[in-house]
Assembly symmetry: C2
Homo-oligomer: 219 residues x 2
């Protein structure tokens, strides 16, 4: 390729970048709540320098974890090749969820992506991974055709917003299942008749999950 407009990068810049990444890797490994200022200080550079290299916090994180991201992407492709489409999709979803919990970075990246703040370098392959899984399912007729990978990614981003604690894991599973069902093809029902034949008698129609009507809150 023609070396047209790009001078060689300056050596100090190269060093700084490397040092920043090294420091940041350590810092984020210890805890995900690391401030840009802290990273800069530890790396022995000013914040300005930090921001010269990584225009935004997200961008730094993306860089840090793009390795992990790549693993997730690769996994998608291999699952798509090895497993029945639905299983592949489910497994991948679970894996994504798991990654997001363990390595906080993956979720941050997806978050960045769904916020539009991710450049093609990481975003496109991710979409490609999803597309591969979807395509496999479309091919066997188990998944609806025409689903946009970006939409799926957006739906997945919900996973990182589950408040942690108690039943977080179960909840993630439930939601994954909902997403999955949304993606599947819908077999023709033999009897679309809306008559409720199974429900004999429910004395209390609102029986379950605290359908409590509003509290009498005065304005």
């Amino acid at each position: 390729m023609p070396p047209s407009s790009a001078r060689a990068p300056r050596s100090d810049a190269v060093n700084n970048r490397a040092r920043i990444l090294a420091v940041a890797a350590d810092a984020f490994a210890a805890s995900s709540g690391v401030s840009m200022t802290a990273v800069a200080k530890q790396a022995g550079v000013g914040v300005g320098t930090l921001y010269r290299h990584f225009a935004t916090r997200e961008e730094l994180i993306v860089e840090l974890y793009h390795h992990e991201i790549q693993k997730v992407i690769d996994l998608a492709h291999s699952l798509a090749a090895d497993l029945p489409p639905l299983d592949a999709l489910r497994r991948w979803f679970e894996e994504v969820a798991r990654y997001g919990k363990l390595k906080h970075g993956v979720s941050e990246v997806i978050h960045a992506a769904t916020n539009g703040g991710l450049d093609d370098k990481n975003y496109q392959p991710f979409l490609g991974a999803i597309a591969a899984l979807l395509d496999a399912g479309v091919a066997t007729g188990e998944l609806k055709p025409g689903t946009d990978p970006e939409d799926v990614l957006l739906q997945l981003s919900v996973l990182w917003r589950i408040p942690p604690g108690e039943g977080a894991e179960a909840r993630a599973d439930r939601i994954l299942e909902l997403i999955l069902d949304g993606l599947r093809t819908r077999p023709q029902a033999p009897a679309p008749d809306p008559a409720p034949d199974l429900q004999d008698d429910l004395p209390t129609p609102s029986g379950r999950s605290g359908t409590a009507t509003r509290t009498p809150s005065p304005a």
Copy 2:
């Protein structure tokens, strides 16, 4: 009731609260990017006072919009009563999406809710609204039983994260449909046999079919 522990609220507090709300209503109507400091200044109080009345930015917004929220909640109940369950649900989803776009507040509130930062006063009725819609569908057998309204709310929260512009509206529609399908019951396929009888043989499992990557909308 015993006037046990609650003194009458002080008059200055009452006045300040009212003034803050009035000012904030105007400010947020003009643009959603209003800082707490700005609100406090315009209301002629210190930030400390502002925060005494509304412990957090979200809380102020919730208070501002809880009127709109109530409308959405009421709508859910009346739709659930008047329309076939699936239509009711779809219509309500659409309305929620629309509200979120127009009045920025509704979405902020849902965002707060799904972040766990919303107290019962607004959160529970919202869940109740969703539960009503779900229950109606469960009763007719069109929706899966046992879906947690909170999960649905979380899924809806995705709507506010669609980057605005170009095909945002269409995308919201697509996603709503995905969510909806995830909630529906899955009719028994006549042939539950896993053998693919329609597909002869797909030699290339990785062949990218129609799910071509969408053109990345210009960020």
